[in-house]
């Protein structure tokens, strides 16, 4: 799987769009920007000179995807990027591996752990213990699973590794 191209060096106009996108927060987790979440896949200038922003859903049916697209459009309009095309990119499919390290720290501070592909990667976001148990593979949103810490006994959400 190829890495998302976020952060790649682009034109100054593309870089300013990235800055705008970093101000757009996830509707469910308002501490996390859509860039940190990994749903903004790319910002590029098309052959026609028009800017194109590629976004991907976390899960096929995630209702936040439409809210995110609208929030991005509003933020771009406010910053004067009124002629940007928003494109949905399904491939490669989103994975929790795309949540940036900054994003991961913010999520943990918010009380949500992030599962990486490596086994044993889930730690309690409150006490950092890895002595945890899964309550359910399905949590409050499609992208989360429900766990409990066996050390501090608190339940917590986890961004599951899709």
């Amino acid at each position: 799987m190829s890495e998302p191209v976020q952060g790649a060096v682009g034109t100054s106009r593309e870089q300013r769009v990235w800055q705008t996108l970093e101000s757009v927060m996830d509707p469910e987790i308002p501490v996390l920007s859509v860039v940190e979440l990994g749903v903004v896949r790319q910002v590029r200038t098309g052959a026609d000179g028009r800017l194109r922003v590629g976004i991907t859903p976390t899960y096929s049916g995630c209702p936040a995807t439409e809210v995110i697209a609208r929030s991005i459009r509003t933020a771009l309009d406010q910053d004067g990027f009124t002629d940007v095309a928003l494109e949905t990119m399904l491939w490669p499919p989103w994975s929790s591996e795309w949540v940036s390290e900054t994003g991961r720290r913010k999520l943990e501070a918010f009380g949500i752990a992030v599962e990486r592909r490596a086994p044993g990667s889930i730690a309690c976001p409150r006490c950092a213990s890895v002595r945890i148990e899964r309550i359910s593979e399905f949590g409050s949103t499609p992208c989360k699973a429900h766990y409990r810490c066996l050390e501090c006994l608190e339940p917590f959400d986890t961004f599951k590794c899709l």
Binding site: P57, G61, L90, P93, W94, E137, F138, P142, L162
Partner: protein
């Protein structure tokens, strides 16, 4: 792979591709509608959330697939037009998906048999020659793995549980097993899609489905029911009486208030 390295293949007609993608999309849509009706009725909060999340994934897959079907058809019908403005005879979902929720055992058995089919089908479709379909499948298969773990996990817990749970899940299996024939028996369209490199090889799906489901049944201490005569072919538009009732509820709002939005 470079185009030169690919073996020569028959090209599928737009009509065939439309029908085939409808089969996949309608099956997800109808299964999502069935599961969605259970929201607030799960036996425990975790199961309620799980069923709701699975319904949402399936609805998302249905939207992507129906939107693709609409583009293939090229007559201006979008995902909403296809979902809300067709009658039962025009739906191409597997009849298994439209079977009523019944008790929790029936819901689990229906989901389990369907999950195994979707999982193997999407796994295979990720390598489809139709790039748009392959992209949808590659995303969907990751979700279907979770769905299967949930439904197969419950199949085992119910089958290898109490006398009551075993009796109920066995009855559900007996009742729904006949609908599995449609999932696995290829008709002319399935065969044409396989030949064109868009759809999976039907024999492969059958073999992998059998392996997966047999292992789950063995672990659940359930016997595989005998196959009975199967007179319905949802994928060709011949449905059980349940689909019409489901559609009456699902389609009411957009039909009563055309063009409504909120």
């Amino acid at each position: 792979m470079s185009p030169a390295a690919e073996p020569a293949r028959a090209t599928a007609s737009a009509e065939d591709r439309f029908e085939y993608v409808l089969r996949l999309g309608d099956t997800s849509l109808i299964a999502a509608q069935r599961l969605g009706a259970l929201l607030g009725h799960g036996p425990a909060l975790e199961e309620d959330l799980a069923i709701g999340n699975i319904a949402l994934d399936l609805l998302g897959q249905a939207r992507l697939l129906l939107a693709l079907a609409g583009r293939i058809e090229g007559r201006g019908r979008d995902e909403d037009a296809l979902a809300f403005l067709r009658d039962a005879g025009q739906f191409r979902n597997m009849a298994l998906a439209e079977q009523p929720d019944g008790d929790f055992a029936e819901t689990i058995v229906r989901q389990c048999l369907l999950d195994a089919w979707q999982l193997e089908t999407y796994e295979s479709l990720a390598g489809s020659r139709d790039r748009e379909l392959a992209d949808i499948a590659e995303k969907a298969v990751k979700e279907c793995r979770y769905h299967w773990r949930f439904s197969a996990g419950w199949l085992v817990r119910l089958g290898d549980g109490t006398t009551e749970s075993h009796t109920r899940v066995r009855a559900a299996l007996e009742k729904l097993w006949r609908f599995t024939d449609e999932l696995l028996s290829a008709d002319a369209l399935d065969a044409r899609m396989a030949v064109s490199g868009i759809g999976p090889a039907p024999a492969l799906i059958r073999e992998r489905w059998e392996t997966r489901v047999s292992a789950a049944l063995a672990e659940a201490k359930l016997e595989r029911p005998a196959q009975r005569h199967y007179p319905w072919h949802g994928k060709r538009g011949v449905h059980t009486e349940h689909l019409g009732h489901l559609l009456a509820e699902m389609q009411f709002l957009p039909r009563a208030y055309p063009g409504v939005s909120w």
